[in-house]
Symmetry: C2
Subunit: 344 residues, 2 copies
DNA sequence: AGTTAGCACTCAACAAAAGCGAGTGCTAAC
DNA sequence: GTTAGCACTCGCTTTTGTTGAGTGCTAACT
């Protein structure tokens, strides 16, 4: 059986309608609503074919049809019209990014928020670990008699700070001197390469300030530990409640639960270096808990090897077109900003 | 009519039962389940009195009774037994706080999380603004040719950092010198007192580095702006879905919406200097959207005048006893830690 | 006077039954 | 190849009963 033009038109009508209404649609309704110039009976025959070919499904005998995963796949790959962002949306995204360039982690959180706001879908963002990045600079800043701050800048320009408490914090001069010592000694070390042994060695060279140096290195190791893997931010999870497919509280709860499982989200965002936008439909993600969802995802580049990802999660009948547009729009901005900042 | 001992016992039974089951309870069930040594008919008479006195309500004619706000109030004020935290719970709280003393904002976020985890209620935490705090130290740390970090320490020991981008960032020596200049000039200034005029004056004194100084002061003003008011963190909002009173998706959605309204949460946490734990029951909070909820809240002290608040939000039939215990437990730890850290 | 058994009454909640209507597949005519 | 027509299906909504937990009242009992 061949997928002729008319079948495609009908399939398109079914999918568009279902995306809008979340209700199965029947032949008569298609005939009336979408003037295809053919009768409901003809549509009926074509729909029967489309079902045989696996593009649509009948949830139960006397109901209309809904798209299958395969149907959505066809739609996304060949039918969907990619729409442009409106000037307003583009401006909003630009603004969110521009006003958060000072801290990349914060920027990614805000990005997730902006996407969720714009699309009304849940959004997850992963931020790459700093483990593999190298130390560029360390500086100590006095706080009070008992504490000082260690500021750590990595070569991916991530800034971490950590307050270090001591019985008695060194004076400003000493801190300054130690800053230089530690900074010079550790420059270009990868964070993950700092271990107890190195710490001991460096502490020894600090003479009577060994305790301070030791505390600092412990703090650095804490940073690594805290970041164990990637950082995951979610936003707009509550949007799930708006979709009729989750109007059963139990289902909604399951979704919430799923979206709190770090491991699952990491799997979901996947690990690959593609810079393309990927669409994962329904069971394609191989996660039983999320088989009723689709994900639009893409990677963004943070200095060479380090990829973070952004994913938009919605029901399978999500507005793929919009989600793809928004995601591609935001990626453009992020990549531009990151490139510009990293002194390109 | 007098609230004699027997009435109180019955009221207590009603409330305890309702907290557990979320179902109205009738006289016969009380007689059977709570051996009070009187018949259901007697209980019936007493319940009729309790209803007249406004402590309980009949949701509809042929249903049992549920506690009214007034009933809960009596329960909280006079009947409730305050239970101790288990050793395990206490250990958990201690550990959460201890492992986050390095950054107070992060600590408060984690605290919210811990409470939500322990109680299964939604938790909100507010962190006081830094506007009124005074600058203690400012230090610049180089990042790359185009940027450096400004680290700002206030007298409440809050640390903020902000990446500053320039066409060409000064070299390390210059940064060091400027750090000292700016730090010395601004020490003891309240953040909110930094304005354009002061900025211009200081920039002028920096000679050819006026641009750098100006950028820094803009960044500081950004910090103030970003913090416009208080910072609010929420956690465990999804717990709401577990309560039968929100099993209707629309109601749940309304709650989610409400818990995203900053202004409402700020009102909810209120502003007062009491260090006591306060219980706000149902409509007492004067927020129509949250009239079906109760809040257990308390302030914690961050250096003198600055108060942040923690609030636990649940349905009116929440386990007040547990919530109060957890909150008082955590407050003890937080106050102890903060006092210890602030070099007391 | 306080307590209790007994009874008529109410009403939400559940379940079965009935009817509706959107949908299908098939057939026969165009 | 297309379409009108028709019998049939079956989930949804509405209706109608039925049940049972609960009440208030009365009369008898301690």
């Amino acid at each position: 059986m061949i997928l002729n033009d008319r079948k495609i038109k009908i399939l398109e009508a079914i999918i568009n309608d279902y995306i809008q209404t979340a209700e199965p649609i029947g032949s008569r309704t298609i005939a009336k609503k979408y003037g295809l110039g053919i009768s409901s009976a003809t549509i009926r025959n074509e729909m029967s074919d489309l079902e045989d070919m696996g593009f649509i499904i009948q949830p139960h005998a006397s109901a209309g049809r809904i798209p299958s995963d395969k149907g959505y796949r066809l739609y996304v790959d060949r039918l969907m019209r990619r729409r442009e962002l409106t000037e307003e949306e583009a401006r909003f995204l630009r603004q969110v990014i521009a006003s958060n360039i000072n801290q990349i982690d914060y920027m990614m959180q805000e990005t997730a928020r902006a996407i969720a706001l714009l699309t009304n879908y849940a959004t997850i963002v992963s931020e790459p670990t700093v483990k593999k990045t190298r130390i560029r600079h360390i500086q100590f800043v006095p706080v009070d008699e008992h504490s000082f701050v260690m500021v750590l800048v990595t070569d991916s320009k991530v800034v971490k700070n950590n307050v270090i408490y001591m019985d008695s914090s060194p004076d400003e001069e000493t801190l300054q001197r130690l800053s230089r010592l530690v900074s010079d000694s550790l420059r270009d070390y990868a964070l993950e390469d700092i271990d107890k042994e190195l710490a001991a060695r460096l502490a020894a060279s600090a003479g009577k300030n060994a305790g301070v140096v030791m505390a600092v290195l412990n703090a650095i190791m804490d940073v690594i530990q805290a970041e164990d893997d990637v950082q995951i931010y979610t936003s707009g999870v509550k949007n799930i409640l708006s979709f009729p497919e989750f109007s059963d509280v139990e289902k909604a709860k399951a979704m919430f639960q799923a979206l709190e499982e770090r491991d699952m989200l990491i799997t979901l965002l996947g690990k690959n270096n593609s810079e393309k936008i990927q669409v994962v439909i329904g069971a394609e993600n191989n996660l039983a808990l999320l088989e009723d969802c689709s994900v639009i995802k893409a990677n963004y580049n943070v200095g060479g090897q380090n990829f973070g990802s952004i994913g938009i999660i919605g029901p399978k009948r999500m507005d793929y077109s919009q989600a793809v547009s928004v995601l591609s729009g935001i990626l453009k901005h992020i990549n531009a900003v990151i490139k510009a900042l990293s002194g390109g």
